[in-house]
Symmetry: C2
Subunit: 343 residues, 2 copies
DNA sequence: AGGGTGGACTGGAACGATTTAGTTAGCAGC
DNA sequence: GCTGCTAACTAAATCGTTCCAGTCCACCCT
């Protein structure tokens, strides 16, 4: 049952049926009512979205391309908050959300994606071939990374990390350490040696966060090069655990008494594993996080962290895509939250 | 730049270009290579998904229609695990995920949805007009509710709740209580009075869970009608909090010493608020959850709960939609996890 | 009566691909 | 030289809409 069938059945033109569904003002109310009634009666449930999107060039679909697998992204608090902000705005404007992963089968991205009216890309590396395959005329907003000729949304990573490190270093500290998130060029889950290719040129956020920490170290008279660093490959409890166990199980003389973590997930894992070992927080171990996820604030000890509003970040990106606000480069401010883990 | 333009430019037919992209065996490798090279060169990034989906009738998009708002669904551990299972399967088969909410602007659903090749519907009520608007010939799988003529995926709610309640009632209990999730016909966030229209006929899961609890009560010689019940409208910390405060702040003689909760989120909120009040778990208060979310197992006290594998539930639904397994009615088993909150 | 106006409806050309049913050329076999 | 076969390619119909450019008619104004 197509629009054409329906038109023939009713003895009107296809244009009129189309108007009955799309432009009520173009035909008499009586005829319109008749058409809609008959449509329902004959089992026609409105114009086919496929044909419509071909003809109009618009689908009311916005694609979100995520750096990690969908599985990860949906479970991670930060990226699902981002998605939820995006969804919120799209929903109110009658748009829908298509989820794509830029990771494994990136092949499927260009194919499926050309159906979308716009793209929100989260945390990818700008060098990816992927970008050249996206239809160049449709809007694209980059979140948490930089790419030329496109709008971006960020938080003030460097100043925020500087501020929280400065706060942490006000309390005398013997052995500070940093737990990075996806910092190294090559995958590395564990201690970062001197000789490892350190900073991937493209990981702009991670680099900015580390730079903030290091600025505070230098200012406090600590040589940043002397501060031990670990790296975490994926922001999950499971992947964090072995690395953190390695740190906490160091002999007491070597064990850090301050851990600057690049995410709350990492920090929460530290809390869990430290509790299991009977370490007292903050007496034996102080730590800071990043993100300000809800889970970190529900229960004692509440995390000392940088709160970024990922939901709002998503809203902004969505509004930019829909043209509700200028698509420009935007840096959001964050807020330091002093919790119990580093008073 | 369209396929037709490219064909003209190269002096071949559109069919040949189409074959170059879709059926390598239909033309000489040499010509194919030439076409692909030139395509890239001239800025043609493959067949347009809109036109293709119109012509072939397939889009490689599966729509997931969620009962709650997208914002909620993306933040809730259970539904995002479900999504993640779905995404995992779709991803490996080159399909993508379109997220729709069946709630507020249900109007946008039929319009946008006819682009999808199939539908996974989560937790909706089958009476919704929505269903009649979906293209009837495309596959539909219902998750966590029943609808005629369609495949469904479930867990064994009643037996699972019976089992955990039985376990909880083995320890002598003076004042058991139940905290339901979305049980009442009319929205109600708080104590359920006798005169409230109790069981929405359509909320099959919730009803099944309560039935399981009540069977165990009866068996333990407790009149189910005497057990006080509360109701929670939305499975979030914020919405749970006032109700749980109401319960925990009852005079000690009235305060329940066993709380059977219909979700881990509710149970976790109880843990948080009980800790704040200095109540000892399980000495002063025992409680059980439902879902088995990761957050409930990380930190002490670990929840005593029913673990359902929502990720696997999603995988099954996705496989059914893609025809990788028979689309029939399926009941998954759950596992009781004895944690610290009700040993 | 003639001209102008505007509302209601229609015809048919796109939109950009896929696919069926060919056509053509080359070559082997007899 | 004819037939038959295959590989390589093409012409044209088709998918289900939308929307531009009209047509038609009733009505009003002068």
């Amino acid at each position: 049952m197509t629009l054409k069938d329906l038109a023939r059945e009713l003895g009107v033109s296809t244009a009129t049926v189309s108007n009955a569904f799309n432009r009520p003002d173009q035909l008499s109310p009586k005829l319109r009512a008749h058409i809609l009634t008959e449509a329902r009666h004959l089992g026609y449930s409105g114009p086919d979205a496929r044909a419509r999107s071909l003809r109009t060039g618009r689908s009311r679909i916005i694609a979100v391309i995520l750096a990690e697998s969908l599985t990860y992204s949906l479970n991670d608090a930060v990226s699902s908050e981002l998605l939820s902000g995006i969804a919120e705005v799209l929903d109110t404007r009658g748009h829908t959300l298509l989820l794509l992963s830029g990771r494994q089968n990136a092949a499927s991205v260009p194919g499926a994606s050309s159906i979308a009216d716009g793209f929100i890309v989260y945390g990818l590396m700008p060098s990816l071939k992927l970008f050249s395959d996206l239809p160049p005329e449709r809007p694209l907003v980059a979140v948490d990374f930089d790419i030329e000729d496109h709008a971006t949304v960020h938080v003030d990573n460097e100043p925020a990390c500087y501020a929280i490190a400065r706060h942490a270093l006000r309390t005398p500290t013997r052995r500070p350490a940093v737990i990075n998130l996806r910092l190294t060029e090559q995958p590395c889950n564990g201690r970062i040696d001197d000789d490892q290719a350190l900073l991937s040129a493209e990981r702009t956020i991670t680099r900015a966060r580390l730079a903030g920490f290091q600025r505070a170290f230098a200012e406090a008279g600590i040589d940043p090069a002397e501060v031990p660093m670990w790296n975490i490959e994926e922001n999950t409890f499971e992947v964090c655990t072995p690395v953190i166990e390695e740190i906490l199980d160091l002999p007491e003389a070597e064990r850090p008494d301050l851990l600057l973590c690049m995410s709350d997930r990492i920090a929460l894992t530290v809390v869990t594993l430290a509790e299991q070992r009977g370490l007292r927080i903050p007496e034996d171990l102080r730590l800071t996080g990043f993100d300000g996820i809800a889970e970190g604030q529900y229960r004692a000890p509440r995390l000392t962290t940088i709160r970024q509003d990922s939901t709002e970040k998503g809203r902004i990106a969505a509004r930019m895509i829909l043209g509700m606000e200028p698509a420009e480069s935007r840096v959001m401010t964050t807020e330091m939250m002093i919790g119990d883990t580093c008073p």
